[in-house]
Amino acid sequence: MESFLDANSMKFLHCSDIHLGRKPVGSAFSNYSNQRYEDYFNAFDWIIEFALENPVDVFLISGDLFDRRELSPDVLERAEKQLSRLKNRDIPVVAIEGNHDRLFAIEGRSWLEYLSREELLYLLRPYTLEDGSVDFPKWNGNSGAMVEIKGVRFYGMGYQGFSFQQYIEAIANQLDPSKTNVVLAHTAIGNPSVIPGCVIPEELEPLIGKCDYIAGGHIHTKHVYKRFKMFVPGAPEYWDIKEGEEKGFFIYDTLTKNFEFHNSKKRLKTIVSIFLENGSTNEFRSRLEEALRSNPVEDGSLYVVEVKVPFGSFLEVNISDVEKEIEEMGALKAVVSVSMGKGVKTESENQDLEVIEEDVIAKNPELASYSKVIADALENLKRYHEMNDEEGATETIDRLLNEIIGGDLDVR
């Protein structure tokens, strides 16, 4: 009994999107770039420290360990030193490539491949056969897409952009549900046409009941999708200054199936929102002063001011001057962003078309509360209309009406 437990019982740490080597562009007069460059190493160091003090059996990196495909010697040397600390304590590192550190087909070897050959980590990669089908072969000592450690199977799916579906279907056929399976994939749930490289929930369905843990990444804030057992820890340090706060790493116990989330150590950031009513300079100034009073600038911190102006009005203020003022108050970096509209900020600014449609639909009092789903369905409906696909159109309408009414009786 005990040996059975031992066979499948382990704890692993899961982190992602470390982005070592990132140098955000800053003003020529500040050392913002250099300080931030250190921040990414520090955040990673802190996670490694945690793994050494609270020993885990395996250390997972779900892609984007590096910020770029090409590395400077300093980045490589420091990454090797950091990974060696885990190796010296016999903690195996299992990693995949993300969109930032994966290679184009023609470029040959990636730096992660180099680290894998140096035996600092297992780089898992699926293979595509001549006929285009996808395979997840077992680790053969040099390469592979699956490695078994203490009875737990780790599969690496890497980053597959808009082709995740094929890879998910392929791996679903290959997983043995009687085993403890962990799948590393550099993706998260989202709208791929807004954030390329995300997957929609339907695409993940084949994995339900077949794997214990999907170690996701790509999105830089923490997300847990319990239905799919998918975990996205977020980037431990702000890749973009406007990113959300919840970032860290997971500790997962394969026996109890419990997970814990730990926040990462990152640079201090303050966000203040300002809503303007008429959008005049005076209004902006007085609101900004209020905001700075109630949220004083801390030395060396990041400071973000989100300004909302009414639709159709324009702020007559030199944004970069305001940013400079806040930096002179001690902020390492200040960002002032101005946006229009109701103040509801969507995932990306590029959803304008749907927002407009939604807005128009919302004017109809009977349909107002379903404006979002109708707008989403309209998107598909337009495509089926163009393609003259009646079946697709009917299916879309059915699905939309079912969702609104709360039933599932289709016309077809």
């Binding site: 087909a105 808009f162 407009i356 309408i397 009786l409």
Partner: protein
């Protein structure tokens, strides 16, 4: 998104073209008709399936009659991965395929187009957005804003695709509503059928209840018949048992009678045997006393016979003992004679031992004396040997020292001879003075040599001058020279050279003399160094001699001290000492040898004596052993004698105890004869008795057997009586008539039961079918409920679909207005960023663009047509950038001949603002025939037409 490479095969004028692109601005430049636009056509066809009017065949080159065309575009998509899109065209059909960098493939429009839309990052209608927004076609730059209101409306409404809402409303939504309606009426039909069915089945439940009652009644009656039958059967069973019992009892009675008869017969036989036994008993009683007398006699006779046997044994034994006794007495006599003989032997050996002891003692005394003498001689010998050894070592030392002394004397002599008696310092001084003289001479030689060189140079100068003057040109006259100082050239120079030669040979004579002197100096120098080395050697020899003398002194001292150690005489010369030591050594050697001889002669004598003693002791031991043997024999014989005596005594007492045995035997024989006679007279009585006694003895057993038989007979008779009584009882308790009447009754009941059972079955069947009907009824009811619900749901759907349909029908204009407002806002931001002005771009309902510029307190509002050419271009670019951002997330744009039909002002404005506006783009393709953008391009691709084919040059 950006394109890495486009490959064209047989596509229009491109027979085989491969173009590599870079990120940033790419310029495709060439004259009209060179094939630039074909590249854009190919790209549009590969990316979104864009095609002008005409057939696919128009894409295929007519240059080589290939009959097919291929397009391949490699690009990096919005997800950061590489893809290749491949289109194969033949006149009737085309294929469309997209392959990812990991070789994942998708084929066909239905799979490829949605993926491409995502990969390119296009929102809304793919083709339109690609054609109108991503691509800026020639003339579209500004002219699109300048057309009539109707033209503008047509262009932008088409772009915003606002009519699609109405289209969807009147097609897809309409169809949907219709199909929902038909589905609802379908459900209504089904509901009606169900309603009828329900009505028909509504009585089922009551019928079922009735049938169940009936079933209950039948089963009750059936149970009653069954109970009655059961009771009858029980009774029949009982009667049948009685009949069986009667038959059994009858059998028992007969067997009991048979047994009684057998017992009576046995009893008669036993009574006869009892009478026989009683008569035998009487005979035995009459002959009993004679029989007992005979028994006693017979026992006595047996005893006597035993005694007689014992007495005969005793007589025989007596004879044996007497013979044995006489043998033992003889043996005792023999042992005594042996003892006397052995005692004599012992006496003789003891005498011999005595004599031997005396002899041994005298020999041992002699041996002891010799031992003492030997010890004395040996100690003398050791003293001599010690002295001898010290002299031997002294002699070696003396010999060594004297040898060294004579060698040293020889060396001293040689050394003394080697030392030369010369005064070296003075000799060296003499030679050194000579050197000083020679050094002066050497200096002279040096100056002579220098003078010689000088002369030779002079001569050569003269020679050169002569030859240059003879053959060349005079440096002064610039012509050939014929005289010098009035002389012919050769004459003038020859004279001078001759004089110099003379002087030179005299110098040579002096040089030779000085040279020989210089060489002599060298020999003197050699001499000095030789003298110096000789002097040093001489000093060395002197030191060596002194050392040898010191050595000799030391040796003499050593010799003296060695002598002192061994003897008193020390003041001897070395040779005398050696002589003395050697003679003393020889003397000591003699004395030592003599001592050794004496000791060995004593040893020989001692050895003889020891041998004598050993042989005597051997003899003594032999005698002692003989004595011992004799004594042992004596002891043995004595022992034998004693044991023989004991045995003789035992035999004698035994013989005396048997002395009467022969007489007793005679007596016994006489008595036995008497007894036998008496017994023979009594024997006939005894035999009669024995004959009858066994029969008489059986009386008890027989009379017991008779008794047993009597009692058993009694029991059997009682039993017989009992059985007879029981038999009578049973025969009265049943009758065969009763049994047969019961059997008949049961038969009737069975028939009745079958009848009930069949009735029960048929009612139960009926219930089953009624239950099925009930189920059907319930199903129909449920189904009808569900259909009612579905109907309700579909009606809701219909209602909602109609609403949405209505909404879509009127949504177009509202959307267009929103788009205009939204894009104008974004365009304003762009415009402001580009120009650093605070103007506002407005887009009115008739799609006329206005630029509103604030002027102190109020503002000026100008229509697009009233703007300057430069302003028009900036506003147009700002709107285009806003459109691109709104309708795509791609960072890719195409400009197709943007400068065509532009005046200089617009062209300048375009080249100034276009790159600025699109600097965040990943890639911009500009197709042009002029040079406007050449210097800001990352890459320039030249396309020319050669022999009707397009040729690309990077």
């Amino acid at each position: 998104m950006y394109v890495n490479k486009i490959e064209l095969e047989n596509f229009k004028s491109h027979v085989k073209t491969s173009i590599d692109f870079s990120q940033g601005l790419n310029l495709i430049i060439g004259l009209n008709g060179a094939g630039k636009s074909s590249v854009l056509q190919a790209l549009g066809f590969a990316f979104v399936g864009l095609k002008e009017d005409g057939s696919y065949g128009d894409f295929i080159t007519d240059f080589n009659g290939a009959g097919f065309a291929n397009i391949r575009v490699d690009f990096v998509a919005s997800d950061g991965l590489e893809y290749s899109v491949i289109r194969k065209i033949d006149p009737k059909k085309t294929s469309w395929e997209i392959i990812s960098q990991t070789n994942v493939k998708r084929r066909g429009q239905k799979e490829v187009l949605p993926l491409l839309q995502n990969l390119l990052g296009i929102r809304g209608e793919v083709k339109k957005v690609y054609k109108r927004i991503i691509t800026a076609s020639q003339n579209d730059m500004t002219s699109v804003f300048l057309g009539t209101s109707a033209e503008r409306k047509a262009f932008f409404n088409d772009l915003f695709n606002t009519k699609i809402y109405k289209e969807i409303s009147s097609k897809e939504m309409k169809e949907y509503v219709e199909s929902v309606t038909s589905k609802i009426s379908e459900i209504n039909g089904s509901l009606n059928i169900l309603k009828k069915e329900i009505e028909e089945l509504s009585t089922t439940s009551q019928e079922l209840l009735k049938s169940k009652e009936e079933l209950k009644k039948i089963s009750k009656e059936l149970r009653e018949v069954e109970n009655l039958e059961k009771e009858r059967k029980r009774k029949l069973e009982m009667l049948r048992k009685k009949r069986e019992e009667y038959l059994q009892l009858l059998e028992k009675k007969n067997s009991s009678l048979e047994k009684i008869q057998g017992l009576e017969k046995t009893m008669k036989e036993n009574q006869k045997r009892l009478i026989d036994a009683q008569s035998a008993k009487k005979i035995c009683e009459e002959s009993k006393s004679q029989h007992e007398r005979f028994e006693i006699l017979e026992r006595e006779r047996k005893e006597l016979e035993e005694q007689k046997v014992i007495a005969e044994d005793d007589v025989k034994k007596l004879g044996d003992l007497e013979r044995e006794l006489s043998d033992i007495n003889n043996a005792i006599e023999r042992a005594e004679a042996e003892i006397t003989h052995e005692k004599g032997n012992v006496e003789r050996h003891k005498e011999a031992l005595h004599t031997l002891n005396d002899k041994i003692n005298s020999k041992k005394k002699e041996l002891k004396d010799l031992e003492d003498e030997k010890m004395k001689k040996v100690s003398e010998g050791n003293e001599i040997l010690e002295e001898l050894r010290s002299f031997q070592s002294l002699s070696t030392t003396v010999q060594k020292i004297t040898d060294s002394l004579s060698r040293t004397d020889g060396m001293i002599e040689t050394a003394r001879n080697r030392i030369k008696n010369v005064d070296y310092p003075e000799e060296i001084e003499n030679q050194t003075q000579k050197i000083e003289f020679f050094e002066k001479k050497a200096k002279e030689l040096e100056s002579v040599k220098e003078k010689k060189i000088e002369l030779r140079e002079k001569m050569s100068t003269l020679e050169n001058s002569r030859s240059s003057l003879e053959n060349g040109v005079c440096p002064i006259l610039q012509e050939k020279c014929f005289n010098v100082e009035g002389k012919d050239v050769s004459e003038y120079f020859d004279e001078k050279i001759k004089n110099l030669k003379r002087e030179f040979s005299s110098l040579e004579v002096v040089e030779r003399k000085l040279q020989s002197e210089y060489e002599e100096m060298q020999s003197v120098k050699d001499k000095i160094s030789q003298l110096k080395s000789e002097m040093a050697e001489n000093e060395n020899e002197k030191q060596k001699l002194q050392k040898l003398r010191d050595d000799k002194e030391k040796m003499i001292d050593d010799l003296r001290s060695s002598l002192e150690e061994v003897m008193s005489v020390t003041n001897l010369e070395p040779l005398a000492a050696r002589e003395y030591v050697n003679s003393r050594l020889r003397e000591l050697n003699g004395v030592h040898q003599k001592n050794l001889t004496e000791v060995s002669s004593i040893d020989a004598k001692m050895d003889d004596l020891k041998r004598d003693v050993r042989s005597l002791e051997e003899e003594k031991r032999a005698h002692s052993e003989e004595t011992k043997k004799c004594e042992e024999k004596i002891e043995m014989y004595e022992h034998q004698k004693v044991s023989f005596n004991d045995k003789s005594e035992d035999l004698k007492s035994e013989i005396s105890s048997l002395s009467r045995a022969r007489e007793e035997l005679e007596e016994l024989k006489k008595r036995y004869l008497e007894l036998s006679n008496t017994a023979n007279q009594l024997k006939p009585f005894h035999e009669e008795y024995m004959k009858n006694i066994n029969i008489a003895m059986g009386i008890d057993e027989i009379s017991k057997r008779v008794e047993n038989t009597v009692s058993e007979l009694k029991i059997k008779k009682v039993e017989f009586e009992n059985v007879s009584t029981r038999l009578e009882e049973v025969s009265n308790s049943y009758s065969d008539e009763e049994i047969s009447s019961l059997e008949k009754e049961i038969n009737t009941l069975d028939k009745k039961k079958d009848e009930f059972n069949s009735r029960f079955g048929s009612v139960r069947e009926r219930i089953k079918s009624l239950e099925l009907d009930l189920k059907k009824f319930k199903n129909a009811k449920e189904k009808s409920e569900k259909l009612k619900k579905d109907k309700e749901f579909l009606e809701k759907k219909k209602h909602l679909a109609e609403k949405i349909r209505k909404l879509l029908g009127v949504m177009g204009p509202e959307m267009a207005s929103r788009y205009r407002k939204f894009i104008a806002t974004r365009a304003t931001e762009k415009y402001r960023a580009l120009t650093q002005k605070v103007d506002i771009v407005k887009w009115s309902d008739d799609y006329d663009v206005h630029l509103i510029s604030p002027i102190e307190g109020s503002s000026s509002d100008r229509r697009f047509s009233l703007l300057s050419g430069g302003e028009q271009m900036v506003v147009a670019l700002a709107i285009r950038a806003a459109l691109t951002e709104t309708f795509s997330s791609t960072k890719f744009a195409i400009f197709d001949e943007p400068t065509v039909n532009l005046d200089e002002e617009r062209r300048r404005s375009l080249s100034e603002y276009l790159p600025k506006l699109f600097e965040n783009m990943e890639q911009i393709l500009v197709v042009t025939h002029d040079e406007t953008f050449r210097e800001m391009a990352e890459k320039v691709i030249n396309i020319k037409k050669e022999n009707g084919m397009s040729v690309v040059k990077m």
